[in-house]
């Protein structure tokens, strides 16, 4: 990440240190109940203002030797202190669970459903995933406010995935300032769950162009006819050598329409690497979605793995997962 500000870099460093501490304190688990050792409580900014108010009132009361102002000051102070307990009560005892792995396409917002349950009421809970790696987390991070008045609810939280793959679910930060906003009780919860980021079917313009061409048309066109500029990872075997000799600055490859076109119920990803692989995966992803939509059965051929032909959402999921892992 080249263009990170100092603040972001410091935050990442801080988060690394913190996660090391948190991993020891709360290793990821299927079901986490918020107990005392997981909850942190510190005053909010408004809480510090409140402390200032109490200090000012103490000075005022002492200077005027006015017992009533002192009484009010102590009343505020005891309200302030009791709020620690109230803030703790509002968050403690909550049980978090993520039953299903979240899935989504790269570059799009992925949502994970987190189940919350407890016997008692919880109010004004704020939740989000902590993902310091995302440079633009401040805009995309959306807080979910949950009022837990029933014994169980589900919160949908936004996840950010820019790169395909299978990731462990990041820690959930769950905060509450409930009764008076003076104290923030929060906890970082790691759930033993993962989420999938599939290659984005729409991300690449050229991929879209290619796929807009009808499959039958594609079959007619000769594989060697379309040329496109060379990109890292393109197979050297497709290089147009004559043209390279003429213009060494702009290498050009023959655009391969993979042999999968001939057998439309097979989605094939050729053994590529780098950017080319990504493009191929995006294309394959798009193909898979289209095939699933059309209702025909299809299979997936990866360099290392072949999934037999089948159909249905579970098969699609399986295929997409293999694409993400490829």
């Amino acid at each position: 990440m080249p263009n990170l500000t100092l603040k972001q870099r410091l935050y990442q460093r801080y988060w690394q240190l913190l996660s090391r501490y948190l991993d020891k304190r709360q290793p990821a688990a299927d079901k986490v109940r918020l107990v005392q050792k997981l909850i942190f409580i510190l005053p909010t900014r408004y809480g510090w203002w409140f402390v200032l108010l109490i200090t000012l009132l103490y000075l005022l009361g002492t200077n005027y030797q006015n017992n009533l102002i002192l009484l009010l000051c102590y009343l505020l102070l005891s309200v302030f202190l009791v709020n620690i307990v109230l803030a703790y009560q509002n968050i403690s005892g909550l049980t978090l669970q993520c039953k299903q792995a979240a899935e989504g396409f790269a570059g799009e917002a992925t949502t994970a459903a987190v189940n919350l349950s407890d016997d008692k009421k919880h109010l004004m809970l704020n939740m989000h995933f902590v993902q310091p790696d995302n440079t633009n987390d401040s805009d995309t991070r959306q807080n979910e406010t949950v009022l837990l008045s029933q014994p169980a609810t589900t919160a949908t939280l936004n996840l950010n995935g820019t790169k395909r793959g299978k990731y462990a679910l990041p820690r959930i930060k769950i905060t509450s300032q409930y009764p008076f906003g003076l104290w923030r009780a929060w906890s970082y919860i790691a759930l033993a769950q993962h989420y999938w980021v599939y290659p984005n079917p729409d991300a690449d313009k050229s991929a879209v162009n290619i796929s807009s061409v009808d499959a039958s048309q594609q079959a007619k066109t000769d594989a060697g006819e379309t040329l496109s500029p060379y990109r890292a990872g393109d197979s050297v075997r497709h290089m147009v050598w004559k043209r390279l000799a003429r213009d060494p600055a702009n290498p050009v490859v023959r655009q391969q329409y993979f042999s999968a076109q001939a057998e439309p119920s097979w989605v094939v990803v050729p053994p590529l690497s780098g950017d080319a692989l990504e493009r191929a995966l995006r294309y394959a992803c798009r193909q898979l979605l289209q095939l699933e939509q059309s209702g025909s059965s299809y299979g997936l051929k990866l360099p290392a793995l072949t999934l037999p032909q089948a159909k249905g959402p579970q098969h699609l999921q399986r295929c997409l997962q293999e694409l993400a892992l490829c």
Partner: protein, 651 residues
């Protein structure tokens, strides 16, 4: 999103407006009339816009408006004083915020400023009733604070509130009682408020006005028994300059040195504690010659007490007095009190006659008292107006007057007869409350008498005692004729019940001032000492209390878990239709019975079938959602179930 909704809530805006109105009322002493008018207008505008559901005014306009008002406040700074200026600016800030409230953080700032302003009200008011009102305003503000951070749909959780109060109250009291008290850190600006009580000038009418004021001047607790009423002359002012008509405090006394008198006399026969009401004056009260006092007040050489700054809130101090009269401080004092003013020729004549007849000053004073007693002098709250030679007119013409007339005339006669004399202003007597053990001295007990110099000692002489001894021995009421007594008790005060309520309130107020307002570092140290002494006893009782609570809790838990294995759904069902289910044979399951009922009473068929379905869901599937729905359904069909029950009973 959430914030916008929250600020749209009418009741929040209304409660803030109400808080600001009450603040305006409470702080009205600090504001000039036009300031109050401005605030009232702004708030009224805000209320109108709330009721008409108009949007908040634009921030720019409000800023400009507030800027202009703030500048005018600043121009009036000299007049208002720093404290009042601060209060004005704070209230202005709060009002302007309320006018242009748009964001949640602005609302938080508003609540913060409200807290501060509410606390500032206590600078101006310490009365118990007003304090209760201020605490109410505080509670409203606390509630609005809560609303800012809680979901708009939720109700106040009363059980949680109750539990928090159970923690807060002891914590609060313990902090108040045990937290160390410090002396003031720095000099602070005081409120500019008109002073009450005796003033620095005494003209014939000033005390009459004062006695119509029923408010409390101060209260006294005696360490020993209550002294006889004849000794209860509370000295507060010395009037030594006479211009022929009115008496004035000498300039020397006004800036009297602040040093404390040397403790020469060791005879301190009377020790007492005075709780003085706020008077905005430095002058305080003591009996005869004060010998020593607590450190917050000073004793001047002439035996007067004063505090180092105007008494702006209740002040409690301890004094011990010797009952001996005050001694002469310096030769200068004697000369000062021999000066006579021109005029009043008849009085002069009378004084010379007396002087020739009684060369001894003591005899002369006795003769003067005898003169007042023998001749037809009257004691009255409404004396006729006197001419330019007021003393002459009083002594030889109207012969009707109040204590200030008698004191003033006596002092003038004594001075013309060559005896140094001065008028003393203060209070006489008081209202003794034996059960509470304090003497309440009100403004109506204001009194004036004379001190004359005899053998280097200022002997007190009260001419009023000669004219109307009841005034001294009993109270002012008994000394006045019926018609004038009505002047003292206007209208409603004469009702017996109200009188009683007022009395009780005054006693409460006494405890309030002793225990709440008068709680200072001395009482705190005393408390610590007591705590330390009874430490084992306290520890044992706390331990005993805790163990009792723990035993009770354990018992409760055991009994709960022992009997409670009926499912929640069955419990709910029995709660609403227990009587109907009582006819169920024990062998029949509940759901089967319900279905039977449904068949037998087709009017309730739908409801009962629904109930059965939900009940089975909740019981056998342990579905929380179904249980909730079951509860809802039972609640909704309460009336119908009642009809069913009656039908079963009648069958």
């Amino acid at each position: 999103m959430l914030t916008q909704q929250m600020l749209q809530q009418k009741n929040l805006l209304l409660s803030w407006a109400a808080i600001q109105f009450s603040l305006l009322l409470l702080l009205q002493q600090a504001f000039a009339g036009w300031v109050i008018a401005i605030f009232a207008l702004l708030l009224l505008y805000r209320l109108l816009s709330v009721f008409r559901a108009k949007a908040a005014i634009s921030l720019k306009l409000v800023n400009v408006l507030a800027g202009i008002i703030a500048i005018t406040f600043f121009l009036q700074l000299q007049q208002a004083g720093v404290l009042h200026f601060m209060l004005q600016i704070l209230l202005l800030a709060a009002t302007a915020r309320l006018l242009a409230l748009q964001h949640l953080y602005e609302a938080r700032q508003l609540v913060w400023v409200h807290y501060f302003l509410i606390a500032c009200c206590f600078i101006l008011h310490q009365d118990m009733l007003i304090a209760v009102f201020i605490l109410l305003v505080f509670a409203v503000n606390l509630y609005s604070h809560y609303r800012l951070f809680s979901p708009s749909v939720s109700q106040v959780n009363w059980s949680q509130t109750g539990r928090s109060l159970l923690i807060i109250l002891p914590l609060w009291l313990a902090m108040f009682l045990l937290f160390p008290r410090l002396p003031p850190f720095w000099q602070i600006p005081n409120a500019n408020i008109a002073s009450t009580g005796l003033s620095d000038t005494l003209d014939p009418g000033s005390i009459e006005q004062l006695v119509q004021d029923d408010s409390l001047a101060f209260r006294v607790e005696f360490d020993g028994a209550l002294p006889p009423r004849q000794q209860l002359y509370w000295r507060a002012r010395l009037y030594e300059d006479f211009d022929g008509r009115r008496w004035q405090v000498n300039a020397l006394r006004q800036n009297a040195s602040r040093q404390r008198a040397a403790d020469t006399a060791t005879d301190s026969s009377l020790s007492y504690r005075i709780i003085a009401e706020a008077s905005q004056q430095t002058g305080l009260f003591a009996l005869a010659t004060p010998v020593s006092s607590s450190s917050n007040v000073f004793i001047s050489p002439s035996g007067l007490l004063s505090s180092n700054k105007p008494v702006s809130q209740r002040l409690s101090y301890q004094v011990s007095s010797s009952l001996a009269p005050v001694t002469l401080v310096a030769e200068q004092e004697q000369l000062l009190n021999l000066r006579t003013a021109p005029g009043n020729p008849q009085t002069q004549q009378f004084a010379y006659q007396l002087k020739q007849q009684y060369p001894q000053s003591h005899d002369l004073v006795q003769a003067l008292a005898e003169h007042f007693r023998q001749q037809p002098f009257y004691y009255s709250l409404t004396p006729p107006p006197l001419g330019s030679n007021s003393i002459d007119a009083f002594l030889f013409d109207s012969r009707t007057g109040f204590c200030s007339h008698y004191a003033s005339a006596s002092a003038v006669i004594l001075r013309h007869a060559g005896i140094a004399a001065r008028v003393v202003g203060g209070y006489q007597g008081g209202n003794w409350h034996p059960q509470q053990g304090y003497l309440a001295v009100r403004q109506r007990e204001a009194h004036a008498w004379v001190e004359y110099l005899h053998n280097g000692v200022w002997q007190p002489f009260d001419p009023t005692a000669a004219v109307a001894p009841e005034r001294i021995l009993d109270s002012l009421d008994s000394a006045l004729p019926e018609a004038q007594r009505a002047l003292l008790d206007p209208g409603w005060r004469q009702l017996a019940i109200l009188q009683n309520v007022r009395q009780q309130l005054m006693h409460l107020d006494y405890y309030w001032s002793v225990w709440v307002l008068g709680f200072d570092d001395t009482s705190q140290r005393q408390l610590w000492r007591n705590l330390y002494r009874h430490l084992p006893a306290i520890a044992y009782s706390v331990a005993a209390l805790f163990s009792i609570i723990i035993v009770l809790l354990l018992y409760y838990r055991l009994t709960q878990s022992g009997t409670d294995n009926t499912p929640q759904a069955t419990k709910q069902l029995y709660r609403y239709m227990g009587k109907a289910l009582a006819t169920k044979p024990p062998s029949l399951p509940v759901s089967a019975f319900l279905l039977q009922c449904a068949k037998r009473y087709p009017a309730h068929d739908v409801c009962l079938k629904q109930l059965t379905a939900l009940y089975e869901q909740a019981l056998y599937k342990e579905d929380a959602e179904a249980l909730n729905q079951l509860k809802q359904l039972l609640k909704c069909h309460k009336a119908e179930l009642g009809r069913l029950r009656r039908a079963i009973k009648n069958a």
